[in-house]
Amino acid sequence: MTGPLVTIDDITCRFGKRTALQGICADIAPGQVTGLVGPDGAGKTTLIRLIAGLLRPHSGHITVCGFDSVGQAEAIHGVVGYMPQRFGLYEDLTVAENLNLNADLRAVTGQERSQAFERLLGFTGLAPFTKRLAGALSGGMKQKLGLACTLIRPPRLLLLDEPSVGVDPLSRRELWRMVHELVDQGIGVLWSTAYLDEAERCGSVLLLNDGKLLNSGAPRGMTDRISGRTFVVRGLDPAGKRLVLDRARQRVGVIDALIQGRNIRLVMAEGAAAPTANELEAGADAAVEPVRPRFEDAFVSLLRGQGLTSNTGALPQGRTSETPPGDPDAVVEARDLTRRFGSFTAVDRISFAVRRAEIFGLLGPNGAGKSTTFKMLCGLLPITSGTARLTGLSLAEAPALARARLGYMSQKFSLYPDLSVQQNLEFFAGAYGLSGRTRREAVGGMKEGFGLEPFAASNAGELPLGFKQRLALACAIMHGPAILFLDEPTSGVDPLTRREFWSHINAMAGQGVTVLVTTHFMDEAEYCDRVGIVYGGVMIATASPDDLKEQARTPDLPDPSLEDAFIRLIERHDRDRKAAA
């Protein structure tokens, strides 16, 4: 093998006062996929832009195919294919027009051009859609078109910035297949992602967190370091699993404990023995078994090794929520819920019911209809047809009463960044109609329960991510709602912050709050008691994550992942639809 395609030598990059990247040293090799893995804001995009010669570092050097990224950026543009986030497509141009433009830009003409088009349209499966506007393509098809545009003149290095985020798992898998074909031709690929499960598919991984390179090398090297330290507690009583989780967390030597479907996953500190089922009081049928470590386990272990901890024990106390009236098996109930925008049906006859104190997830790619369903349930969007009931109340008949029983936290946190923590809490207390003593008690309780007191006077916008998340959650539950809606609450956050957040959610479910979550992260879905899989506006399955995986089990695939299950369901759904048509 020849030398590296890219050499990154002690790169530091700042934006104003913020340091986006600090002292990064790494190599990117040809003929393999290098994963650039890390949570949002870790500096992935900045590093990619530096390699593409689109940004200048404050110090350090990057050499790409022998060219300096600052002085010879033009030469780099000739040998690198770059697909930015959102794919860099012109949505008002057709597939063919986008390809033509990129062929012109890359000086590919005549026979070479027609051959490239034929090859790429076959490769991406876009041949039937050449006359379709790029804006009218699905997320997966856009991603393939974006990739095709960068491949018209085969590059030596392909930079893909979060190519798979929010894309359905089938398209994601196809993209990986395509990228592996490219790698076989000797192209070097840098693939950035916030999905930690993707790291395991890469030949090499650069793990970024908070602007620093935590680790680089083969993903196996990272997981090998914690081999023998990962366990699963099986055979738990579903009702008691959250108590077991709390016990596990409190044990010395446990560096990570989290719910995974019906089971609890444990990562032990170096040299610490795994607790027995008895020690965890996990029940008579429970057993602790060793499992193969995942990349995420290694990441968490690395972060903990840096002395990073998070507050995972605190139980936030909302105002004690009274047990709401109505059927405890259908605290949230959607029946044939449909929403059309013009001729487009965003949500098509979705039905499901959520039990009291259950954590229910809506899992699906971007544009599948998760958020639309959510907004209809919360009364933020009128329903085209069907019914939505919260604690037995119809949103159409008693909107105010139904809304008083729900708390809503959106992906963007909906905080006022220029108001202090105290002011945010007081504002939301006022918005929920709390006044006088109730209000003071609610605000005080939230500050105490979420450990926000030291930050009471700081502006919400300046809080660290984890505290921002706590504050947003505090603002959503201050009025003691019986139902909590979380719209992509931990997409792209680092695993520690995510764990902390979910410990609060688990605690709330333990207190009887019903929780609904949307997500496009497979592993986030595994924290839920049950998930509904949404695809193309249709709910194609509702079951516990374990049952879904069980259904996908085949002799070829003895231990399917939730993603495998999802893909099988999509394939079956598409087949059924074709048969019906």
Partner: protein, 377 residues
């Protein structure tokens, strides 16, 4: 592998085709380029008039002598006024206060008698100062009528009175003083500013917002192609809109063109390049459609409207604002437009205008190429 130059031309072609397709598919581009100009032309052509017509005047005649009748007649004969003759000053004053009258002319009982006795048969004018423009016109006209009448009377009576020098205006270029004749050509400058600056600033900022610019600059596309790829399609769009405006001015509003079409289109081309470069500069600096739109309106559209002499006379602005107007390209363009339409190819006016517009265009082009970098920082 093709040569550098051929690759450049191919990239430019690709960008121009792309931009043209986008313009044709984007209703908002066509709206700003064609519907808005037509709307503005109709509005200013028909709706806004700076001419004094049908000004309501109360003539208070306390003693209806023949001399007073003759005075009244010269007022009533004018197409500018609608005259209401009254006997009592109090009623007229009431009407003025209530806004039913734009002005009051009072002829006192001894008005005619005082002519020639070291006196000039004084009249009194009451004007509504809140309508300064109308007040001006009434005053000027009333003075004129009064002087003409006084001379006539003096001559017919053989009175040796000293009549002050009377200026007899002869109005060149726009003898009927139709404001439409100078508003409509001036409006072309406004329309071109809208298309050149506002539209262009929006479309480039849009590329930044949607992330397509990032994909573009990561290819070998050079700055000249990038800029020309934006300038050429919008230049064609702007010139088309300009031709439409000229056609409307001539055929719809009957504005004469006394100069040559070549000068008209040449000057427009120079102005348009400057406006486009300004739009590009704005969007390159802001990279955000909302901010770009605001900046384009404040720094492009409003100055073109207020500081170009299109509606508001530059000569009557405070000194420092007059200085400021020299930086507004529209000022020179409005002057050229009004000259070419109403006077002809007056090179002594047009050449300095063209020179100034060229200079401003070059400054913006230079600033744009300096500011546009193939980098994100």
């Amino acid at each position: 592998m093709m040569t550098q130059g051929a690759a450049r031309r191919l990239r430019l072609k690709g960008l121009v085709v792309k931009e043209t397709l986008q313009i044709l598919r984007d209703p908002s581009s066509l709206l700003i380029a064609f519907v808005l100009p037509v709307l503005l032309l109709l509005l200013f052509g028909y709706g806004v008039s700076l001419d004094a017509n049908h000004i309501r005047i109360a003539l208070v005649v306390e003693n209806p002598t023949p001399e007073a009748e003759r005075f009244i007649a010269s007022f009533a004969n004018s197409s500018y006024f609608e005259v209401d003759v009254m006997r009592h000053r109090a009623t007229a004053e009431e009407d003025l206060v209530a806004g039913r009258m734009d002005g009051v002319v009072v002829l006192r009982a001894d008005f005619a008698a005082r002519l020639g006795q070291w006196d000039m048969a004084p009249i009194q004018l009451l004007l509504d100062g809140t309508e300064a423009n109308t007040a001006h016109i009434v005053r000027g006209y009333a003075e004129g009528v009064w002087l003409a009448w006084a001379r006539q009377e003096a001559m017919s009576r053989g009175l040796p009175i000293a009549i002050p020098v009377v200026a007899e205006p002869r109005i060149w270029f726009n003898p009927e003083l139709r404001s439409r004749n100078f508003l409509v050509p001036g409006l072309i400058a406004i329309n071109m500013t809208l298309i050149g600056t506002l539209l262009t600033s929006l479309v480039v900022a849009r590329e930044w917002e949607r992330g397509t610019m990032e994909a573009l600059i990561s290819t070998q596309t050079g700055l000249p192609e990038l800029l020309a790829g934006k300038l050429i399609p919008y230049f064609v769009l702007g010139m088309t809109a300009m031709a439409l405006s000229v056609a409307m001015a001539v055929f719809q509003f009957g504005v004469p063109i006394r100069g040559s079409l070549m000068v008209l289109f040449g000057a427009s081309a120079i102005f348009l390049v400057g406006a486009l470069a300004m739009g590009l500069l704005i969007s390159t600096v802001t990279r955000n459609q909302f901010v770009a739109g605001q900046v384009a309106i404040v720094s492009g559209f409003l100055p073109a409207f207020m500081l170009s002499g299109f509606v508001f006379e530059i000569g009557s602005m405070p000194g420092w604002i007059q200085v400021l107007t020299h930086a507004v390209a529209a000022r020179y363009f409005v002057s050229t437009l009004q000259t070419v339409f109403l006077a002809g190819d007056i090179w002594s006016v047009i050449l300095p205008d063209l020179g100034a517009m060229t200079l401003i265009a070059l400054v913006f082009l230079a600033a744009t190429s300096v500011r546009t970098r193939k980098r994100l920082d």
